[in-house]
Amino acid sequence: MANPANIKSGEGWRRDLEYELARLHGLPTDNGNWGPNAPDLGLLRKAAKLAIEIRRNDLPRPIVTATSDRAIHVAWFGLANTELSIVLYPDDEIEWLLRAATGKIETGAVSEINQINSLVDRFLQ
């Protein structure tokens, strides 16, 4: 379940996603595996499309980070430690993690965009 305190206008998460992705562009590229490395522009553009492709407006604001292999991690956290994480990799793969309130974790690879909408629906249940 999403945390209502983090839902402002319903569109807040999209603005935050855009802002955070722009911030990732300014990260260094020489961190090796000791820290995040800036994703390339093509992957940043792909991640920005999540704002269009995800239908729900009532997501909380996301945490957006880069991994050391220049992937982009977009995560939403809800009450009771629920979580939906999406990682977009430079090799074009997209993977997901869904943590339920029970602590049960499911993970997998995304084969088409509607799968992300289904995951969002499950996260917001």
Partner: protein, 146 residues
């Protein structure tokens, strides 16, 4: 990739890392965030994605961490993990990997699936377990500096 990391898959777990040893994962401040709904910071899973370098506490001091690579890690946090906790995750091996920035045998990589891969991905079972261990209240030697 860490400098000097071996490209070959290891044949077995590396028992130069002895039972009871403590390993350090250096924590970049970008991977230590206040999650929505919380008042305190948490280690995020990115810390345990891709290649995960660890440092053996028995061979490296905090001062070394602060000075290595021209002071690059002086603001990093330090998470303490036990070799036992990591090896208890099914198929996780610890492999010494040469890195000239660190003392001999001090730099270690985590391999998953009985040595098949050192690249941890979100869909793998290890990253959430390692993240949970890192967020255990016992695990911090120091948080990253803001």
């Amino acid at each position: 990739m860490a400098a000097g990391a071996s490209p070959a898959a290891p044949a077995q777990d590396d028992w130069r890392i002895k039972p009871g040893e403590t390993l350090w994962r250096l924590l970049d401040r970008n991977w230590y965030r206040v999650l929505p709904g919380n008042t305190h910071s948490s280690v995020i899973i990115d810390t345990f994605l891709d290649e995960v370098s660890l440092i053996r506490k028995t061979l490296v001091s905090e001062r070394w961490v602060d000075l290595v690579k021209g002071g690059r890690f002086a603001n990093h946090g330090i998470i303490e993990l036990s070799e036992r906790e990591i090896r208890a995750i099914s198929g996780c091996w610890l492999i010494v990997s040469a890195d000239s920035d660190w003392p001999n045998d001090a730099h270690v990589l985590i391999y998953r699936d009985y040595g098949k891969s050192k690249r941890l991905r979100l869909r793998h079972p290890e990253p959430p377990i390692l993240t949970s261990l890192a967020n255990d209240g016992r695990s911090f030697l120091r948080p990253p500096k803001p």
